[in-house]
Every structure is written in structure tokens, then in C-alpha cells.
Amino acid sequence: MTKEIRLAKKKRRNQKIAFGLFSLISYAVVAILFVILAFIVIKGIGVISWEFISAMPSNGMTEGGIYPAIIGTLCLVLVSMVFAFPVGVLAAIYMNEYVKEGWPKKIIKQMTNNLAGVPSIVFGLFGMSLFVNKMGFGDSILAGGLTLGLLVLPIVIRTTEESLKAVDDTFRQASFGLGASKWETTSKIVFPIAFPNIITGLILSIGRVSGETAPILFTVAAYFLPKLPTSIFDQAMALPYHLYVIATSGTNIEASRAMAYGTALILIIIVLISNLLANALRKYYGKKVKMN
């Protein structure tokens, strides 16, 4: 009897230790995130002003603002999404709704996963040789946006596929059962149900695209441009590259240190805002989808 009690006590103690450890680790992860954020906010908040986000850089990028870099990054996000979102979503629909199970599908899936694992600098090189040189776009928003689009294509495809898979099969069967075609079933039933989740892919991609440096290095990013881009064939500044420049190879690194943190902060804020927007969009469609 006492032996059993002792055993039970021991079990309970072990469980407590294990749970304690797990919760410690989870809090540690959150804490690290907050430390990083706090660090950037504290170091960067001082330079944030209306001028900082609305003015051109001046005096060798040690003064003025980062307006062209913000605009450049927004343009890159837009171009890459206009490319990657429809292409990725259509590819995923085809893969999930049309292709039969079998080895061709397995290979395509494996390739998509491999694509997601390719280092971003390789995408940069590829984008340079294909879009900049071969297709003759030159260093431009178009070339950089397309390169970034390729980079996030696997994310869009994978999240879309997961969202489509999560749609209960009986919805498809009920639609087919009423004599609907595959296309009607996919476009009128399956896609609207999956859409709110597909937007998650969009959120992840926007975050990734606005922060990537390597793919834009050889395809679009300018060290310094005193004017805004006027078309998608223009070069542009971009936040992550601008950050790299003023932190490592500017004219006066010490003088622009605070601005580097300010730039990082703006970058984080842009990602945060786009996440919030996309989340709101997802909620809105989540409600609307039940109503139309």
C-alpha cells in the first residue's frame, strides 16, 4: 500500500517537473520574441517621425527619411503577390481537385517542398539571370517582384492545398450529387469554403516578401535613389536592403545607426499592419462565405 502511494507520488512529481519544463520553454520563446521587439523599439523609436517616413534620405543617408525604401518595398510586395497568389492558388486547386493520386502528383509535391527549401540567395541569382538578363527587364521592380513571387510560391501552394484539403469531402459529393460539374463544385462550393484559410498563405507570403534581402540584391534594390520609381521597370530602394546598407556599408555607419533601427522598426510595423489587414479580410470572408 505505502509502496503504491510512493509510486503515485513519484509519478505526480515527474509530471510536475515535465510540465514545468514545457511551460518554461514556451514562455522563454515568447520572452525572446519580446526582447527582440523591445530592443528594436527602444533603439528605433527615437528616430521615428513624420519626416522619417515621408522624406528622402539626405546627407549620405545619415539624415532625412526612408520614404523611397517604404514605397519600394510596398511595390515589391504588390508585384510579387499579383504574380504568386493567382499562380499558386490555381496550381494548388489543380493539384488538389484535379490530379489523381499517384506518382506524378507525389513528384510535383516533393518538388514544391524542395523549392521551399532553396536558399533565397539562389532565387536571387536565378531571378537575375532569367528576369534581369534573359527577359531583359533589367534591374527593376518587375524583376525583383517576380523573383520574390517565385520565392513564396511554395508557401502559397502549400497553404492553399492544406485549406482545400480541410474542406469536408461530403461538400464535394453533395455538389456532384446534384449534377454539378467539377469546375462548378470547385469554384462555387470548395473554393469559397477554403478561401478564408487561403488568405493565411497570403499573410505569410507578405511577411516573407517584405523582409527578404537576398532575392532583391541583384534584381531591383538600389543603394541610393534620390527619386521614387515611376514604373515597374524602374529600380527601387527597399527596406531590408536599405537597412543592410546603412548598417554595414553606408557613408557614415555610426551616424546612421539609429536610423537603421528605425528602418527595422518600420519594416516590422509594415509586416504587422499587413498581417492585421489580412486577418481582418479573413474574418470578413469567413462571415461572408456563409451568406452568399
Binding site: A174, L178, N292
Partner: protein
């Protein structure tokens, strides 16, 4: 003549034979209950009747199934037309993420009906047929998800009826519902029998006893016995059937 007539049907999922030599016929405007333990093939058989199993990759079927004398697995069969004629109701209520009205109108729209008046007329008739009209007439433009489970299931039946099938397949239509909703669906099935030939898979013996005219007992992919429900439940010819019905196994 029989409404549905299957002869020597075999069905395989890959290497796995799910149905063995099923020959089973059903008369017009009757309710046939398919009973048997899980995995016995009754749902698989049901899904052969509107070729829903076509959607599953790597399956094979042999034998023939005739509906109104036409082989539904013949090469010249139009599957869409077949499915219009053979409606289906699923285990879990699965209304589309649309309004109540659009749920019922969907089947009409995908079949090319554009006349608004005709659509409205059919939607109303169908909802009335499932005795749901009084409950939803003021919220036709609201989401179907706002209805209770039992109401959703009746809406799904209305959705199937809207395109005027002559056969209705039901795959355990009440297993996810409470007793009151269940009895409403059962009453409905009893009503619908006058106009439709109904095949229903059920795990509920009492339900089979209450609503069906004939009962088919499946076991391990074989049709063990098919007779009037009264005979199956009172003096089955085969011992396995009796054992299952009296709850000795399954």
C-alpha cells in the same frame, strides 16, 4: 418491373474486395433499409447507385446496376443525368455555405435553370415537401448554418428533392441527430415514399423496422438476406441475420 436492379456486383478498393456478387432489387416507391455491421459494404453499395464511388481513385466494379431498366455503368450513361435522378443525403448534415434559399436553388442553377420564377417555385415546393417552410420562411436569406442540425438535414433533403430525382439515397441520415429531429426525418421518409424510391443505410435497427418496406442485411461484403422488413425482423431465413438483429453480434 423493379426500379433498381443490381446483378452480380463486385467492387474493389485497390486489391481489397468490398462487395461480393451482390444481386439486389428494389421496387418503385418503396423504402429499402441496408443494415449490417460497420465495414460490411452497405455504404459502398449505396454509393454505387449514383456512381459516387467514381470519385475515389483506384477502384474497380463489375456486374451491372439497372435503374429504370438502364445500365447506369454503361459507356453511354451521362453521370450528371444519373445523379440528377438519384439524389443523395449524407450522414452529417452538410448544407453549403450559402443562404437557405441558395442551398436549395444551387442544384437548379448548376443544371442550367435560369428562370427566376421557376427557381423560386421549386425552392418553395421543396422546402414545403420536407416540412421546413414554416420554420424558415422568414429567414430564407440567412445562412443555412444558422439552422439546427435537424433542420439542416431536412434542408439537405429539400436540396436533393429540388432537382426532381426519382430515387433518394440516404447514408445514415439521422445518426448525427437528436431523437426529436430523428423522428421528424423518419416521418418525412414515410411521406416521401409515395413519390420516391428510397434506399437508406442505417445502424439503427428500430429505425429500419419503423420506416422500411424491405431490409437487406450485409455482412463482410456479402448480401446475406433481403426480404420484407417484417420477415427479416420476425422470422429471418438465415441464422446470421437473426444473430445480428437480436444483437448477438455486430
Amino acid at each position: 418491373m423493379h426500379k433498381i436492379e443490381s446483378k452480380n456486383v463486385n467492387f474493389y478498393y485497390g486489391e481489397n474486395q468490398a462487395l461480393h456478387d451482390i444481386s439486389l432489387s428494389m421496387k418503385t416507391n418503396t423504402v429499402t433499409a441496408l443494415i449490417g455491421p460497420s465495414g460490411c459494404g452497405k455504404s459502398t453499395y449505396l454509393r454505387l447507385l449514383n456512381r459516387m464511388n467514381d470519385l475515389i481513385d483506384n477502384t474497380q466494379m463489375s456486374g451491372s446496376i439497372l435503374i429504370d431498366g438502364n445500365d447506369i455503368y454503361a459507356k453511354n450513361t451521362n453521370v450528371d443525368d444519373l445523379r440528377k435522378n438519384v439524389g443523395m443525403v449524407f450522414q452529417k448534415p452538410n448544407p453549403f455555405p450559402k443562404t437557405i434559399y441558395e442551398n436549395v436553388a444551387y442544384g437548379l442553377r448548376v443544371n442550367g435553370i435560369t428562370d427566376k420564377k421557376l427557381i423560386e417555385e421549386r425552392v418553395i415546393t421543396s422546402i414545403e415537401q420536407v416540412a421546413l417552410w414554416d420554420e424558415v420562411k422568414d429567414k430564407l436569406k440567412k445562412s443555412a448554418f444558422e439552422l439546427s442540425g435537424g433542420q439542416q438535414q431536412r434542408l439537405c433533403i429539400a436540396r436533393a428533392l429540388a432537382i426532381k430525382p426519382s430515387v433518394l439515397l440516404m447514408d445514415e441520415p439521422t445518426s448525427a441527430l437528436d431523437p426529436i429531429s430523428t423522428s421528424k426525418i423518419e416521418e418525412l421518409i414515410y411521406e416521401l415514399k409515395n413519390k420516391y424510391t428510397i434506399v437508406i443505410v442505417t445502424h439503427n435497427m428500430q429505425q429500419a423496422g419503423r420506416i422500411s418496406d424491405t431490409t437487406a442485411f450485409f455482412y463482410m461484403g456479402e448480401l446475406i438476406e433481403h426480404d420484407t422488413t417484417k420477415t427479416i425482423f420476425t422470422k429471418p431465413a438465415i441464422k446470421q441475420t437473426e444473430d445480428y438483429i437480436t444483437g448477438r453480434f455486430g
